[in-house]
Amino acid sequence: MKKGLIQATDWYERTVHWLLAISCIVLCITGLGMMFHSFHFLGTIVGGLKMLKHIHNFTGLLFAVALFLAIKMWWHEAGVFSMPEDLEWMMCAGGYLWEVEKVPEVGKYNPGQKMFFLAVAGFGVIMVLTGVIMWFFPIEFPAWLVRWMYVLHALGFVVIFAFFFVHLYLGTIGSPGSLDAMTTGWVTRAWLKKQHPKWLKEMEEEGTLVVSGEEKKAH
C-alpha cells in the first residue's frame, strides 16, 4: 500500500455498506422487472416472473438486516445535521452546482450524504414495512390499507432509485477518489482535505488518524 494514505472506513463499515448496496440494487432490478412489462425479460432470465418475485422478496429480508445495521452504525454520524454549517452548505449546494467562494467545511458526512442516508433509512424502513404487508398479509389486511402500501412502496422506489444514481455518480466519476473510501478504505490526504476537511481536523486533533506506513498515534 502506498504510504501516507488515511483510513476512512473500517471493514465493518464497508461490509454493511455493500450488503445494503447489493441488496438494494437487486431489489431495484427485480422490482423493475415486475413493474414494467418491458422489463419482463429480466424474469425470463431467471426462469419466470414468479422466480423474480421470490428473489425480490427474499432479498428484501437481507435488505432489512443490512438496513438495520446501517442505521445503527451511521445514525450518529449521518442522521443528524449540525447547524448552522450544514444549512449554509445546503444553501450553496456544497459548491457542486455553481461557483462558491468558500464552501462551509464538513465532517465525515456532508449534508448531501446525510440527506441520502436519511432518505434511504426512512424510505428503506417504509419499503420493509410495506413489503412485509404486501408479501404476507395482502388479503388479511383491509383492501384500502393494502392499496396504500403499494403506493408507499412505489413512492419509496421513486426516491431511492433517483437518489441511487446521484450516489453512484458522486461516489465514482463525479468525485474522483471517493470510491476508495468504500473499496480499500484508504483515501488520500488531499481528498480528505477537499471533501471532509472538518473530519480531517477532528481526527488530527483527537489523534485518531490512521496513516499507512505510520504507527498509529496513541489516543
Partner: protein, 263 residues
Amino acid sequence: MSENIKLFDISKCTGCRGCQLACKQWNQLRAKQTRMRGTYQNPPDLQPNTYLIMRFQEVEDSKGLRWYYRHQACMHCSDAACVKVCPSGALYYSAFNTVGLSHEKCIACKECVSACPFDIPRFDERTDKIYKCDMCESRIANNLEPACVKACPTGALKWGDKDRLVKAAYKRAKELGDGAYVYGDKFVDGTHLVYVLQEKPGMYAALPKSPSVPLSIVLWKDVLKPLSILAAGGVLAGSFFHYIIHGPKTPDEDTSTKTEGGE
C-alpha cells in the same frame, strides 16, 4: 365485433341458483362442503372455486319482509383496476372487452385482490393462483352465451349487444318505477355485467354504492410508476451535464481552472 354485456334484472330473478350451478358445471369447479348457517346464503362468499354466487339477503322494514337475490360475479370493468395492477399480464382485456385471466401467467402477487373495487378475485393457497369469472371466454368466443345466462329459466339474465341491452335496461327500470335503476354502465367506464336494481344502492350486501378505480391505484400506476423512470432518467442526465459542464469535484486545490466555462 359488437360488444356484448350480461344484463341481470333483479325483478325477474327467483333465486333458483341455476346460474350458480351452471357456472360450476361449465368451469368444472368442485363444490366445498358447507355448513347450514341459518341462512340461504350458500356458499357464504365467492371462493377460488366459486366464480359466481347468488347473494341472498332477508330484509324487514316498513315495507314488510323481502328477499333480495343478487347475481354476483366479476363485473368485467372497461377500466379494470385488476388489469391495471396485474404485473404479469395474467389479467387482460379480451377480444370481447371482457376481463380474462390466464392462470399460467399469474405470479400470486395478490395485487388484484385489493385493487378490485368489487372484491372479486379470490386467491387459492393450494394452487398459488387467482381465480375469477372470465365471462365464459371459451363460450363467447364460439358465439355462445355464458353458461349462467344459458341456464337462467326466468330471463333475469341476458347476454347481448351492449347498446341494445343498456337501452333495454333503462326501459325496464322505467317500467318497474318505484326507484328502480340501472347499475354498472356509468362506473369504471362501464361494466360488462349490468344490473337493473330496485332497492337503493347500498342496501345490497357486498355491492359498493359508487365504485371506481381506487385513487391509490391511479396514483401508484399512473403517476408514481412513470415518475420512477423519469426521476432516475433526470438524475442520470443531470449527472452527465454536471460532469461535462461543471466537472467533477477533484481533490486538487486548483480545481477552479477546470471549471472554467461552467455555470
